[in-house]
C-alpha cells in the first residue's frame, strides 16, 4: 500500500515561537514522509505541535512570532522551506492543499462557496469567471453535495457543518492536488457525519492516488483510515509506525498510555485508565524525555538527554531509552 512515490518528505523540522515570556520550541526535529496513495496520521494532543509543523512547511504560519529554526520539507525534491513565497504559492494551494478544522470560520463568510472554490481555478489555472464557476459546481457535486448546481451560489452559513466541511474539501481538491493536509477535519463534526467525511476523503484519495496527511487527536480516526502513524508529544515525534503495528504493539509508553485509555467493550463498567498528569507547558518541557514525568517506566537516566528516535524494528521508530527494540519492551 505504501509503495507509491514519496511526495512530501519533512526532515528535522524545528519551529520556535517568540513570546513575551521567551522562546518556545513548538516543533523539535520532526521528520516524516507521505507517499502517493498513503494516509499518514499525525497523532497528538493539543499543543503537541502537530498543526504547527504543517503550517510551518506550507508557509501559512504567522512568522513572526513563529520561526523555522531548521529542517527541510521536500515536495518532489524541491524544498518548500528554502524557496521564495512566490515559488511556494505555485505548489501550496495547487499541488499541496489544506483542509481545516472549523469550516465555519475557515470559509470567508461574505463570499459564496462557489466563488471561493472558483478562486482556485481563477488564480492557479487562469480560467474565466464562467468556466471557474462551472468547475466549482462540478466539484461540489463530486463531494456529494445535493443540488450542487443550485447551492454553488449559497454562502457558508447556509450549509450544515458536515456540508460545509464538504465545501472545504471541494475547495482543497479542486486542482487535483498530490498531497492533502487535513488538519483535524472531523473534530468539529458529530460522529456519523465524521464517518461520512472520512469515507469521502478515502474515496477521493483512491480515485486520485493522492497522499493524505491527517492531523488528529482521535485514535479511533487513526485506526479507521491511516496507513501509517506519527505520534507527537511536546513537539517531538515519539513513535512512527504502520498503524496496525502501532495499535497492536505500541512501543513508546505514551502511545501505550493512549491506547489503554481508549474506551472499549471489554472495559465496560470499569474505570478507564488514564495517563497521569497533564501535558507539559511548552515553556517548561522537562529535561531529557519530555514524557518522563508522566511515564510509568521512567528511570533517572531519562532526565539526562532527549531520547533519539531509534529504529526498534523494520519500519518502526520510537524515542524511548527503555525500549530500544521490540524485544526490550517484552523484557520490561
Amino acid at each position: 500500500m505504501t509503495t507509491g512515490e514519496v511526495l512530501l518528505e519533512v526532515d528535522d523540522l524545528t519551529v520556535e515561537f517568540d513570546t513575551p515570556h521567551g522562546r518556545v520550541r513548538a516543533v523539535d526535529g520532526v521528520s516524516w514522509q507521505v507517499r502517493a496513495g498513503e494516509t499518514l496520521a499525525i497523532l497528538g494532543e493539543s499543543g503537541s505541535g502537530k498543526s504547527v509543523s504543517t503550517q510551518a512547511l506550507t508557509g501559512i504560519l504567522e512568522m513572526p512570532p513563529g520561526r523555522i529554526v531548521s529542517g527541510t520539507a521536500q515536495y518532489r525534491g524541491q524544498d518548500l522551506i528554502a524557496m521564495t513565497t512566490r515559488e511556494r504559492r505555485k505548489i501550496v494551494g495547487d499541488r499541496i492543499t489544506m483542509v481545516f478544522q472549523d469550516s465555519l470560520s475557515a470559509l470567508n463568510p461574505v463570499q459564496s462557496v462557489g466563488k471561493q472554490i472558483a478562486e482556485c481555478y481563477r488564480v492557479h489555472r487562469g480560467l474565466s469567471k464562467g468556466d471557474a464557476m462551472k468547475r466549482a459546481a462540478e466539484m461540489l457535486d463530486q463531494v456529494r453535495i445535493p443540488a450542487a448546481a443550485k447551492r454553488v451560489n449559497d454562502y457558508p452559513h447556509e450549509f450544515s457543518g458536515g456540508m460545509r466541511q464538504r465545501v472545504m474539501l471541494a475547495m482543497a481538491l479542486a486542482l487535483d492536488p498530490d498531497v492533502l493536509i487535513a488538519d483535524e477535519p472531523t473534530t468539529a463534526l458529530d460522529v456519523t457525519v465524521q464517518a461520512q467525511i472520512l469515507e469521502l476523503i478515502a474515496d477521493l484519495q483512491a480515485e486520485r492516488d493522492m497522499g493524505v496527511v491527517l492531523i488528529t487527536h482521535d485514535l479511533g480516526v487513526v485506526a479507521d483510515v491511516a496507513d501509517n502513524v506519527v505520534v507527537m508529544y511536546a513537539g517531538h515525534v515519539v513513535e512512527r509506525a504502520a498503524t496496525s503495528a502501532a495499535l497492536e504493539h505500541p512501543v513508546h509508553p505514551y502511545t501505550e498510555g493512549l491506547l489503554l485509555s481508549m474506551p472499549s467493550a471489554e472495559l465496560k463498567g470499569q474505570e478507564l485508565p488514564t495517563i497521569p498528569g497533564t501535558p507539559p507547558s511548552l515553556r517548561a518541557i522537562p529535561s531529557g524525555c519530555a514524557f518522563r514525568t508522566r511515564c510509568p517506566i521512567a528511570v533517572p537516566e531519562c532526565a539526562l538527554e532527549v531520547p533519539p528516535l531509534l529504529t526498534v524494528a523494520p519500519g518502526r521508530d520510537a524515542a524511548c531509552i527503555r525500549r530500544t527494540s521490540i524485544s526490550a519492551k517484552e523484557a520490561v
Partner: protein
C-alpha cells in the same frame, strides 16, 4: 426588500409618536414663562400678552398643545416663532448650513478614520499605530465641548488661521474649524474600530485558508480581509451619519453657525415646544431613513444579515 422597507417604516411610526410626545413634554415641563423671558425686563401690556398666549395656544392643556403642533407640522403650516420669524423660511436658510457642516465633517472624519485605521491595522505596533492609539485616547478623554472651545481659541483667536465664528467667510473656509472639531471627536472611535477590525480579520481562519490556497497578498487583502473587516466600520459610519445632528447642535452654537442645530438650541432656550418638536421630528426622520439605508446596504455586503 419592499416588505422589509415597509415594515421598518411602519415600526417607525409608534417610535416617532413616543419621541415627539417626550420631547414636547420636556419643553412643556421647563420652568418659567417663555413670553416673559422673551421680553426680558420690559413690561408687556396685558392685552399683548394675552393675544400672544392665544396665538401660540399657551393656555391650552398639554395634550391639546401637542396635537395642535403635530397638526401644524403635518399640514405644512409651520407658523412663526415667538419672536415672529417665519419658521418655513428659517428652515430654508438653515438646512443648507447644517448640510454643509455635516458633509464636510463626515468627509474629514471618514477619510482620516479609514486611512489611519487601515494603516495602523496593517502596520500593527508600528510608529503610526502607537501614535494613533495614544492620540485617539487623548481625544476620547477630552469632552467635545472643551475641544470646540480649545480649537476656536487656538486656531481662531490666537493663530488667526481660520474665522472664529459665523459664516461671513463662506463655504468652506468658515466651516473648516467647526467641521474639523466634530471630525476629530468622531475620528478617534472610527480609526480605533477600523484598526481593531483589520487586526482581528487578518488573524481570522479564513485568511489562513486563503493563504493555504496560494493566493497573493493583494488578492487576500482586497477579496478576503477588507470585505469582512469593513463590516463593523459601515455600521459605525451609519451611526455617525445619523447622529451628526447632535454634534451640530453643539458646534453650531459655539461657532455661531446659523444652522438647524443652533435653531434647536435657541428654541429650547425660548421654550418653543412647537419648533423643538418640528426639529426633533426632522432629526428623527433622518435618523430612521439613514438607518434604513445602512441596513439595506449592509444586506448587500453581508449575506448573513440579508433581509428578504
Amino acid at each position: 426588500m419592499t416588505r422589509f422597507v415597509l415594515r421598518r417604516i411602519l415600526a417607525a411610526i409608534p417610535i416617532g409618536l413616543i419621541v415627539t410626545l417626550g420631547v414636547f413634554a420636556l419643553v412643556f415641563a421647563m420652568p418659567g414663562d417663555p413670553l416673559r423671558e422673551l421680553a426680558g425686563d420690559k413690561p408687556i401690556p396685558a392685552a399683548v400678552l394675552a393675544a400672544k398666549r392665544a396665538q401660540f395656544h399657551l393656555d391650552d392643556p398639554f395634550i391639546v398643545q401637542y396635537l395642535l403642533s403635530m397638526k401644524d407640522m403635518f399640514t405644512g403650516h409651520f407658523g412663526t416663532t415667538f419672536a415672529g420669524a417665519d419658521i418655513a423660511s428659517q428652515l430654508r436658510l438653515r438646512i443648507p448650513v447644517t448640510l454643509k457642516l455635516a458633509t464636510l465633517s463626515l468627509a474629514l472624519q471618514w477619510i482620516a478614520g479609514l486611512l489611519f485605521g487601515l494603516y495602523a491595522g496593517f502596520r500593527r505596533n508600528g510608529v503610526v499605530d502607537r501614535m494613533l492609539l495614544l492620540s485617539t485616547l487623548v481625544v476620547l478623554a477630552v469632552p467635545g465641548l472643551v475641544l470646540y472651545f480649545a480649537g476656536q481659541f487656538l486656531f481662531g483667536v490666537q493663530l488667526k488661521w481660520l474665522p472664529v465664528s459665523g459664516i461671513t467667510e463662506g463655504y468652506p473656509l468658515a466651516y473648516l474649524l467647526p467641521a474639523t472639531c466634530i471630525a476629530i471627536t468622531g475620528f478617534a472611535g472610527m480609526a480605533r474600530l477600523t484598526r481593531t477590525s483589520i487586526v482581528d480579520t487578518a488573524n481570522a481562519d479564513f485568511v489562513k485558508t486563503a493563504r493555504a490556497k496560494g493566493l497573493g497578498e493583494q488578492r487576500i487583502l482586497w477579496r478576503h480581509v477588507l470585505p469582512n473587516a469593513l463590516l463593523p466600520v459601515v455600521t459605525l459610519m451609519g451611526i455617525d451619519f445619523a447622529g451628526i445632528f447632535a454634534g451640530a447642535v453643539l458646534a453650531e452654537s459655539i461657532f455661531n453657525l446659523p444652522g438647524l442645530g443652533q435653531f434647536l438650541f435657541q428654541s429650547i432656550r425660548f421654550h418653543e415646544g412647537g419648533v423643538v418638536v418640528l426639529l426633533s421630528t426632522l432629526a428623527f426622520v433622518m435618523f430612521i431613513a439613514i438607518n434604513l439605508v445602512v441596513d439595506i446596504v449592509y444586506g448587500f455586503i453581508d449575506p448573513r444579515v440579508r433581509n428578504v
